[in-house]
Symmetry: C2
Subunit: 354 residues, 2 copies
DNA sequence: CGGCTACATAAAATCGTTTTAACCAGCTGA
DNA sequence: TCAGCTGGTTAAAACGATTTTATGTAGCCG
């Protein structure tokens, strides 16, 4: 009755395997990691012992010794936002292909939670970090990039010193979106944003303004802020739509804002594009499920994920060069919610403004 | 020039702190963990040293020694499904409150990926697991529950031996949903599911059938399978709607199916509830953003998350009793997409079937 | 046949903590 | 006085792997 042969006692260690195979623990390690050659005959003995005991190396111990955990931390503001869910999903998939695992945390748009979570990740010796920070400023969780392991900033914090940063080309996307509305003949276009303190949003605002300026309509710019909740956005937009001189087009510059805009339009018994054209920033399956399909600017989520991972991995393997700043282009999907302003719309505006 | 005082050299260890404070490493540990009392004067010296060096305990080493990682693994089929995203989001939040972190992996509905991922988690010594398995059967990743650390199964795998299992009361929810349609006067109700091999789905099917049986309409049951993609569901449903004897109501028993159903209805230029009533399983913000609001059965996602975490934590702290099987009730939100069948609808059916 | 190379293996050091067990001083109660 | 306790302290062991260093063996050459 060999004591080492029972399956369900203690979890077997490399020592148990070594003993059963009559070799040294180092040999077992060499067989399993393949770092050094092991004679075929012993190799087989080791493998057999591993199988018999159901041995699984303790990754913790290996990480400690190797000073590498093959774990990356991801900190995002909110997993219930489909954009971030898709981002994380894709990064996880790619990381897994290279045998990296992810430790996930949501900051809930809160700087303090974020700071705490980053500290936790550091304590856990994550090899790298992918962060979409709550603010475009890392002072909440680090003095400088030097305090952190290799880190890439995605979507937010673009251009921050010391980091690889990746984001959609928000300026260009918003500009093209606004241009599309202008091309249709709209003049009174309101931009709805969740918040103005974030660079990705202000880039969208800038793009919007730039398009208007080029059309000589800089004075027509109108940006309203709805906050991070659907209801907040809906309320703000409802107010806007109740004005006598309401806009002929709404450009909702965030996922939440789009939902809010649609709900607001419905709540006031209006229609798009009849009463007001609607252009969404961020695409989703729902945009082609809604009654009139919703025109949208789509962020390249998969590419953002791929690029984030690519850069981080380069950094991890030391093959990275200069710090990168990557802007990925968005695509504009013109569908049914954006139309030229109707004569009724024009007339309404005219009456209101005179 | 004290060597220990420089900030940005090596990462400080407990030894460095001990040396600087002129105490033993064990004392530093006692101060930081609070397991044993330390004289006030030395306590302060240690704390000062910690602050000066910016020392952060290496969680890896602590985990190895303690045989506890305070990490739980979550394996779900698909993070891009809002249901799972919300579930993970909430679990993460709750776990963080108790200082647990989560290792996240998506199985992509694939048994082999799932098996691999569970193995990885085991190697990483996660204290516990929360899994929504790709099949209602764990044989893919373990022989029995005994091979795994404390594990709860959520949404899928309900009732599997050896696990705490949690799921929405799919049977009751589907039954009530179907009942609602019957109450409105519908007789030809088609149920659209993604797949039939999963228990949560077959429970919905059973609930649907049960409601029909009670109404003496068992023979009217009709279940169609659309697969795990939106387009797959859309195609199947389009086909169904093209039939001369098309149903007067569609009950889409999954998130994907609802999207598919809406797209199918639109694609054929039909309307709900005019041409066909629509009831969705799984609620979301979009249900009240669509033109006629979509009636829906809502799963209690937050409660599912809370209960999963509560049970797992009990198990982790050894305070759990008998293995639990928890069914959480769903709620039915009657909105605008479900209406009594119109006379036109009745007539169409009649003509088709005679 | 001594000495060198090459390779396989064993033994020991290491990673950074926590925990055990031993020690010590001071105090109590018999 | 001394055994027994208590609170505080620390050296050393332990956690489970990998890596370094040392050892042994065989083959080859001059």
């Amino acid at each position: 009755m060999n004591d080492t042969s029972r399956r369900s006692g203690k979890i077997p260690t490399i020592r148990d395997v070594a003993e059963l195979a009559s070799v040294a623990p180092a040999t077992v390690s060499n067989v399993l990691t393949g770092r050094r050659p092991v004679a075929e005959e012993r190799r087989k003995r080791v493998l057999a012992a591993v199988a018999q005991l159901g041995y699984r190396p303790n990754h913790l111990a290996a990480s400690l010794r190797r000073q590498e955990t093959r774990t990356i931390g991801i900190v995002i503001p909110d997993l219930t936002n489909p954009f971030f869910a898709a981002l994380v999903h894709r990064i996880e998939e790619l990381a897994a292909e290279s045998d990296y695992q992810i430790l996930l945390m949501s900051s809930n748009e809160d700087v303090e939670q974020e700071a705490h979570r980053v500290q936790v990740m550091l304590a856990r010796q994550t090899d790298g970090l992918i962060i979409s920070p709550a603010r475009d400023d890392i002072s909440a969780f680090a003095h400088s990039a030097a305090d952190l392991p290799p880190t890439v900033l995605v979507d937010r914090g673009f251009g921050l010193a010391g980091f690889d940063t990746i984001a959609a080309d928000n300026f260009d996307a918003a500009k093209r979106g606004c241009q599309h509305l202008l091309d249709l003949g709209h003049v009174d276009i309101v931009l709805v944003v969740s918040d103005t303190s974030l660079a990705n949003i202000s880039d969208r605002i800038a793009g919007y303004r730039d398009a208007l300026s080029e059309a000589g309509l800089a004075h027509k710019a109108r940006v309203i802020v709805g906050g991070f909740t659907v209801d907040g956005c809906r309320g703000t937009i409802e107010q806007e739509l109740r004005r006598a001189d309401r806009p002929t087009a709404i450009f909702s510059a965030a996922y939440i804002a789009t939902l809010g805009a649609i709900k607001a339009i419905r709540a006031l018994d209006l229609e798009f594009p009849g009463n007001v054209s609607l252009l969404s920033f961020d695409d989703s399956d729902w945009m082609t499920a809604l009654r009139p399909y919703v025109s949208a600017v789509a962020q390249p989520v998969d590419e953002l994920a791929a690029e984030s991972w690519r850069l981080l991995k380069q950094r991890l393997t030391g093959t990275g060069g200069e710090l990168a700043r990557v802007r990925l282009p968005c695509s504009l999907h013109v569908r049914e919610s954006t139309r030229p302003p109707s004569t009724a719309q024009r007339k309404r505006r005219l009456e209101a403004t005179t």
